[in-house]
């Protein structure tokens, strides 16, 4: 099995890649780790005429701290996100998610930027990055835009980026003391993709009260959805087991998932409440004042 014929250019800089994107328009496609794109091309679901490789651009991978954020280069592979001391220290929920993508070989090639830009509704990273209130830096010849996660995943396999932009980095605010983060996933038993998953960020005051909560659920729609009713239920209240259970029970409120061959809509909505609770409990367990 092999893709339809295409041309290939190894970009040497983001600027060169932007020029190539402009030149080739809809016939061009950016290549990062290729672990979504190449399988799609082998199945002839995608047949771009020109691949523009970002893997040859220096400086697009790596993780650093800047101005209260972790800055993760778009070409950073999942294995490096999962193993990063900075990620594990500041936002272990992101390490949770990066470590359950695909399998070891996939995590050695697949990139955070590729996953975000591909916006697969069954992907892990969009969910946890929404819970973490990440933002995405989209560069074009006109400059750069910083797009917040809440308005980024606009539809199935569709983001708020335009065709002439390249995702260069992911910016994640480092949570304040007393905040815990976690990700919990029900994987499809064969593919490992998300059936339903939950990302949670919980800030707990020393008194035990919930100071802030961001909960995102995957598998219920075209992209991650915020569990707003759950967040409101938690906000400002003591984080008792009863409150957590009551809040998690609202995790699928307002969502309208589709039935599919593996799971019915009702089942997904039910499982969302279970995985929201798992993620909230794990996040609280990691919150240190």
């Amino acid at each position: 099995m092999f893709p339809a014929s295409f041309g290939y250019i190894a970009a040497r800089s983001v600027e060169e890649a932007l020029q190539l994107v402009a030149k080739h328009g809809e016939e061009g496609k950016l290549l990062a780790g290729g672990h979504s794109l190449i399988p799609a091309m082998k199945l002839r679901l995608a047949s771009p005429r020109m691949l523009i490789d970002l893997g040859t651009v220096r400086g697009l991978s790596g993780i650093r701290v800047d101005d209260g954020h972790l800055i993760i280069g778009a070409l950073t592979v999942h294995a490096d996100v999962a193993a990063s001391d900075l990620v594990r220290k500041h936002m272990p929920g992101l390490a949770d998610a990066a470590s359950v993508i695909g399998d070891m070989q996939v995590r050695n090639r697949g990139t955070i930027g590729g996953s975000v830009a591909h916006a697969d509704p069954a992907a892990d990273l969009p969910v946890i990055l929404t819970a973490l209130n990440a933002s995405f830096v989209a560069q074009s010849s006109n400059g750069r835009r910083v797009l917040g996660a809440d308005n980024f995943f606009t539809d199935f396999f569709t983001t708020a980026m335009t065709a002439n932009e390249i995702l260069t980095e992911i910016r994640v605010p480092i949570p304040a003391n007393g905040t815990g983060t976690a990700y919990a996933k029900l994987p499809h038993p064969a593919s490992g993709y998300v059936v339903v998953s939950a990302g949670a960020l919980i800030s707990r005051q020393a008194s035990g009260t919930c100071a802030a909560a961001r909960i995102a659920i995957g598998g219920l729609g075209s992209g991650p959805v915020r569990a707003s009713a759950t967040e409101i239920e938690l906000q400002g209240k003591p984080l008792t087991p009863q409150l957590i259970a009551a809040a998690a029970a609202k995790a699928a409120d307002g969502s309208d998932p589709d039935d599919d061959a593996y799971a019915s809509a009702d089942y997904k909505r039910h499982v969302a409440t279970i995985y929201a609770r798992k993620a909230i409990e794990a996040a609280i367990g990691r919150a240190r004042n």
Partner: protein, 164 residues
Amino acid sequence: MTAEAEYAAVPISVTVNGVKHDAVVEPRTLLVFFLRDSLGLTGTHVGCDTSQCGACTVHLNGRAVKSCTVLAVQANGAQVRTIEGLANGDHFHPVQQGFHEKHGLQCGYCTPGMIMTAVHLLESQPNPSDDEIKHALEGNLCRCTGYVNIVESIKWASEKMRKS
């Protein structure tokens, strides 16, 4: 631009098992077919061809990857290690020896991929637990031996490598 020029073959230079190979490849050539068809290194197998089974696992710059999901052009300038590059002359690599000692194979089809994944695991984590071994093998499917002896083989190799 003519279609011919647009799909022009690309020169690459890849070091495989320590030997540098210069070649000109069609961009759609998958790394596994470059290794097998152009270099004759048929120890790397094509199993599912959909990045599920791991039979095609090789090391790219020191990391286990599925070579059916990597383009040969993406390996330009890289170091590749395949199953053929593990033994030192007549001496098996400890992981190869472990699969022999502990009967970690039956038909052998998945074995090169299993071994390359295990070598990467033990190079990054010399003393993994059973659970860590099983987790690392998540992307390698065996359809005959079962995994019990494969895990035993890797534990045997882990011990051998730590003693040497």
